[in-house]
Amino acid sequence: MSAPVLLLSSVTREHVQGEVVVHALRGVDLAVRPGELVAVMGPSGSGKSTLLHIAGGLDTPTAGNVLVEGTDLATLSAGASAAVRRRSVGYVFQDLNLLPSLSAVENVALPRELDGVRGRQARREALEALDEVGLAGLGDRFPDEMSGGQQQRVAIARALVGPRRLLLADEPTGALDSGTGEEVLRVLRARCEAGAAGVLVTHEARHAAWADRVVFLRDGVVVDQSGPVAGAESLLSAGGAP
């Protein structure tokens, strides 16, 4: 079995509010391998978004380890951690954050240009990424000339352009009607089948059902999961368990 792209082991995140310690996450273990889409479900306040932020290096755990492509983010300097975040991780949010003054292909190429890739190369990669999400030929359109579903596909292409293999999606179908939302999940699913590792936070069971595994969080703890569960041996071989 291939090594996980994302590995959380015994991740705990506490927030101190005055004298009270709030546990956003408590001892969460999660491994996501290439080709796998994992959905995270739970009531509001269960720690779903904290989990996603920690997985993407936007927040740091109070205890435990986060490995992205085998690198422990905690061992890196702030600058090096930001570089891993930028090169390995793509985000898709409910509000797409596409830049309205840039065309679709320019939006998708932007992260590669920030990686230091030359303009022409970045554009070529962006066109490939748009092609993969079914938007071939629409690269020169601006966001407001595209439907909600097309814009969300641009956001997915941007999240996966270049060598990025970890896709983190927070309610990516939030603003879309149900048919378009399903279309976005098909694209997410296809990107994962092509070798990406995906984590999808959602409150819609219908959307979570597209995942290989569904992890249920409650009060910061993984209470259960559906779908195939990695055995202890595979976690050990991946270096995840102590």
């Binding site: 009531p43 009060d219 779908g227």
Partner: protein, 196 residues
């Protein structure tokens, strides 16, 4: 669902014999509710007795008898399509009963009952979603796709209802602290995850 109406609807397309009817029923519903050929022949006998179908010619060389729908059968079928399905006499909803008893039986951890069911229902919903993705992929037939949608919507509604139960139980527990607090699975060792 009565097999009677299923067979009448299939015979409306043209005369057919038992084996063929069984295959056509399975094709239309994706073999979700498979029939055995004995059920099909017993039902055909009753339909013939009631004058809703009639034998169509002599047995074929294999000895199989084809049946056709009669005018009385057509009227019966039309009235079936025209009337709503009532759930009277449907099997009891075991899950609703189980939850009702879980909240009133001392010592039962209701939240765990809810979660166990949610995981099972979600696993079913994942299976259905895979089938659906495949069915839509190969321009699959409309009848089967609609049957799948029905099962999908039902699973989704069940999960939504379970979420609702969980929220209601949690709220009730904070409002009446005298009720015995269920042991929160949250107190379990963190490493313990997986199917229950």
């Amino acid at each position: 669902m009565s097999i009677r109406y299923g067979l009448l609807a299939l015979l409306e397309r043209g005369p057919s014999h038992g084996y063929q009817l069984r295959a056509e029923f399975d094709a239309a519903t994706g073999a979700t509710w498979p029939l055995n050929v004995g059920q099909v022949y017993t039902t055909l006998d009753r339909l013939e007795r009631d004058g809703l179908v009639a034998q169509d010619g002599d047995p074929d060389p294999d000895g199989r008898i084809a049946y056709r729908i009669t005018d009385a059968g057509r009227r019966e079928l039309a009235s079936w399509f025209a009337s709503p399905v009532t759930r009277q006499g449907a099997p009891r909803d075991e899950l609703a009963i189980k939850l009702a008893l879980a909240v009133t039986t001392p010592g039962v951890d209701v939240l765990t009952v809810v979660q166990t069911q949610r995981t099972a229902t979600m696993t079913g919903l994942q299976d259905l979603t895979r089938l659906k993705a495949r069915a839509d992929g190969d321009d699959g037939d409309l009848a089967w796709s609609l049957v799948l949608d029905s099962l999908l919507f039902r699973s989704e509604a069940e999960i939504r209802w379970l979420d609702h139960c969980e929220a209601r139980v949690a709220r009730a527990a904070t409002r009446r602290p005298v009720t015995p607090q269920p042991t929160a699975p949250a107190a379990e060792p963190a490493g313990k995850q997986g199917r229950r």
